[in-house]
Symmetry: C2
Subunit: 297 residues, 2 copies
């Protein structure tokens, strides 16, 4: 994860890698600080007798190139939240070359991103996922393709009108600021992606999802940064809204069963999870997304 | 699931379907009775203050042809055990035709089988899986290919020498009775199949696994029946050995985490689970294999 030294006259692509990687780390720091502040705010109400959670940070190296840092917190508001940043590079395997734009010509890749999943103690607070990433394919100094992808989606145990409204409104505003067509494209993409076909159920209430964004690097990067900033603002406000509300055993039991759907989605469908596990990624970092306790009837 | 009426002069393949289906149902009945007897035997010791479990049977129909019966018991020994029998028929989709022997010529299929997964209250009692099935591909009255498959594998939370030894010995004896080469082939097949590549861990201590067995129908059927009978004898004896032993909270916590591996295997790798869910099978029957309560760190 150490940033490689580079000169000012390095190729543009190297400057871009540096900028993206730096941003994902900064965003990670901001989100972790905001989540620790939320833990501090639980000085009264449910589980306030437990200590406020703090993130534990664990670096890891990837065989084949690069690595990352997992940040995990198990607290009195966040039952388990994982925030992972990683920057990895290497060559796509034969199998994946056909699926990745540009990889048939030159299978080398460079990828950097942030990924976050939070499972809350309080069943009235929605679980959440956020991820943004930048991918380069080909020669690192002169890539064939460069793009951004990511998004965020909210998984309430029982959807509440105001949370759904505010979450969507925040990402709509972020999209609209950059391109009037984005929201109409990225919201349905999210609904389509986070859908459990075998259950005929959406995973949650959606959000936005985008991939292969390669219109203009500077603008795409600004958009990707704004998606992260939007998340860092809207999600803590939804947590604050509900974190002091008491819950019933019945609501907790319902939450544990809804978490089963989250596990089913991540292991059966999620591209990042399956891709990572099948290609020798860091198992602990990838499966950080799994809930701490789950029930199936 | 009602057995279709057929005449004595019906084609041999129809007689075979009838015989296999009848056997799977009989085996189901025998196993359920044996497991209910085990529940009755827990009149003292851990959780003996809870009522003895009894199976609830739920029939289901499959869109496209056939159906099955789920039997589920939530008891004081068996925290959750599901025994599913099903007989389904139809046509393999374009995607699967290439993967199934004989299906490229005629994509029609008929399949019948029994599938069982047990998760126990007591962390000292191993979880277990057993499944046997008969598949026909092509014209039901004159199939292109007919074969048997199945096996059983044991998943102790902490392996114990005597359980591992007895489980393997029982299936070795069953294999040896039919063919001196079977065990040397079917034991490693099980080890290879029930392996979590992303963890570099076996799911449990193994057992046997076989597929595409099409040497001689009558002999293959006898072997498949004996695999079921072997399971119905050895597994209850292992349960009886440990069911009255008290356990610690630490052992229970370890069990809940080991169950996470079971979920990971079933959703990431298990062919039956993924095949069933992706092809519109009965979700409840397929996911009956998931443990009732699971933890991930």
């Amino acid at each position: 994860m150490t940033q490689p030294a580079f000169k000012d006259n390095a190729p543009l692509s190297i400057h871009r890698q540096h900028a993206a990687q730096k941003w994902f780390r900064l965003l990670r720091d901001e989100i972790c600080a905001a989540f620790e502040a939320i833990e501090g705010n639980q000085a009264e109400g449910p589980l306030s007798d437990q200590p406020a959670g703090m993130f534990t940070r664990t670096p890891w190296n990837r065989e084949g190139g690069g690595g990352g840092e997992m940040s995990v917190m198990k607290g009195r508001v966040f039952e388990k939240v994982g925030v992972n940043i990683s920057t990895v590079m290497g060559e796509f395997s034969e199998t994946f070359r056909k699926e990745i734009p540009g990889a048939d010509a030159d299978p080398r890749f460079w990828a950097s991103g942030i990924s976050l999943v939070a499972h809350l103690q309080n069943p009235l607070v929605p679980a959440v996922h956020m991820n943004t990433r930048m991918i380069m394919v080909g020669d690192p100094e002169n890539p064939t393709r460069t793009w951004f992808g990511g998004g965020a989606d909210l998984t309430p145990m029982t959807p509440r009108e105001e949370d759904t409204r505010d979450f969507h409104a925040a990402f709509k505003a972020t999209c609209d600021k950059h391109n009037p067509d984005y929201y109409a494209k990225f919201k349905p993409w999210c609904d389509e992606y986070f859908f459990l076909k075998h259950r005929g159920e959406p995973r949650g209430i959606g959000g936005i999802f985008y991939d292969y964004l390669a219109e203009d690097w500077d603008k795409d990067f600004e958009f990707t940064k704004d998606v992260g900033k939007c998340f860092a603002e809207i999600y803590p406000s939804i947590v604050s809204r509900h974190q002091h509300q008491p819950w019933t055993d019945e609501q907790r039991e319902h939450q544990l069963r809804r978490r089963g759907r989250y596990v089913e989605f991540n292991l059966l469908y999620d591209r990042g999870t399956r891709f990572g596990l099948m290609t020798g990624g860091n198992t602990e970092a990838i499966l950080m997304s799994l809930p701490p306790i789950v029930k199936w009837d």
